[in-house]
Amino acid sequence: MTVSQYASLKIEAVLDLIYRLKDTDFPYSHSKDALDKVESVFNKLQRNLGRAEAKGDDLLITTVCTRILEEIFRFLPVIGFILRSTNVRNAFEVHGPALRMSRELLGAETKLLVSSEWDYSPYTYRPIPFLKHFVFIGLPSTESSNPLVIPLAGHELGHSVWQQYMLDTDLRPLLQESVISTIHTNRRTEFKQFFPDTSDEPSELGNSRSVQPAIGPVVAWATYQAQESFCDFFGLKLFGTCYLHALAYLLAPGMVWRPTFYPSLFTRFENLVTAAKLYHIEVPDGFENMVMRHPLPEHWSEREKFLTSLADHALQQNVGDIIDLAKAIIKETGIQLPSDETANEIVERFFKKTVPCHGKVGLANILNAAWKFIGENEVWAEYPQMRHNERNCLMEIVLKSIEILEIEERAPITP
């Protein structure tokens, strides 16, 4: 058999899998809609292969087969995500309010998939070109029925907003300028040491073609770090203090290692505290000290450390603009923001009586109230039958509150 025949059979196997999955039950239609889109991607790849095989030369056929292989690598986890979005482990109560929030931020055509994932870090799929308008939010399976981590969905929504506003276009030139100016002013000797054949003349750094391979990865890392930071600020502004609680709960004290294209968790916490002050959002006690600062890994080469430090520095030089940007975009959407007053009222009127709240109070206010209520240990003394089961009781109250919120949003109840 030939490589192109193999490729064709692999596409058929993917399509077979999709057909079988389409026979399962879907709690909401967006999961099935996503499968339809993925199916059309592979149908088109099959046609591309057919056309290349008919007339193409070997180089073209091999290139098409390579792209097909890459797309299978990329889409198989996406298909798995779609399948798991139908799993009963998910807190389906959250889907309606989270979808409403997504549509307020991204537009009425937005479709949302929330899934329980076998990856501890919450994640999203960056807007996939062939799945326009779909937002994927994966929460770790150990926490998928825990509403207290839902604020982290704000970070994941931030990725879609970043893409929709094409914020790379705004921030990349600023970050690139920072990288170039840092090399020129402080790090010229090191730059010359690691890139001896590349010009370090200030006038050349911006415009010389030979400089681009040297600074390419650094600017890309800084831009991805900026995106992650933007998503943090976006989640913070959208959800308020509960975003900080949820992040600290899930990730503190952090790991020793970090990827180059992600700011360290220490930097993220530090920048979030700065943003919270500017947004007038309360920071939980001890938040800044929950994460340790780690040096760059010892096993990294000196060149890798140098390049990463340039990216890190570029982020820090522009973090103020990124904080402002998240705030400006949320303001432009006009979405309802949480308030301490409403969260306190929910705690006093409802949660302290161990009953769910009602009214169109908004998802973020319910979650802020939940995090405030966690500290109210004395309340449970009045309910001995719930002793040793306080956490589950709170989760039930919060999930029920979210369910009532959705019912009231869909069909307002008149008193």
Binding site: R51, E70, D168, R209, S210, Q212, E228, D321
Partner: protein, 153 residues
């Protein structure tokens, strides 16, 4: 410097080597040029989309030359793709590369449907194939082992 977000939703897409769909788009453009060379009626949708992205290089001509919206990763990949496909050699500055990108964009936009010169079409096809493969491999230098899953964030 405050960033103005007005009208940002309506921005024109810019070519980025790290965009996950570029390798596939460039491959499809190569297939379309191949079909055109074989005198088949297949349409030039991907060719036109790639041309539009390439022409996003230049926003305005300043006293220092055309101002580029391309990031260094994209400039690196484009430069190599042009060199390998013999579309452009001896470019020493970003300005040269931006000008060449505009020229290639023009060739793709109108040239593919109007030019009879097979050698030029063959070069454009090769450019698309090389661009496709270089864009796919460049991810490794930025994401390391994470390069296979560009959608995850």
């Amino acid at each position: 410097m405050p960033i103005d977000i007005q009208n940002s939703r309506d921005r024109r897409p810019v070519l980025r080597a790290l965009d996950s769909d570029l390798p596939l788009l460039a491959t499809r453009a190569a297939i379309e040029i191949d079909a055109f060379l074989a005198k088949e009626e297949t349409g030039l949708e991907s060719v036109s989309e790639l041309a539009s992205l390439l022409s996003s290089a230049q926003v305005e001509v300043t006293s220092e030359g055309p101002e580029s919206l391309f990031d260094p990763a994209t400039l690196t990949v484009l430069s190599q793709a042009m060199s390998e496909s013999e579309l452009g050699r001896g470019m020493t500055s970003v300005s040269d590369l931006v000008e060449k990108s505009m020229e290639v964009a023009g060739l793709l936009k109108s040239g593919v449907s109007q030019t009879a010169e097979r050698t030029e079409l063959q070069r454009l096809k090769k450019f698309c194939i090389v661009l496709s493969n270089l864009a796919a491999s460049y991810r490794q230098s930025v994401f390391g082992d994470g390069a296979r899953q560009p959608y995850k964030a």
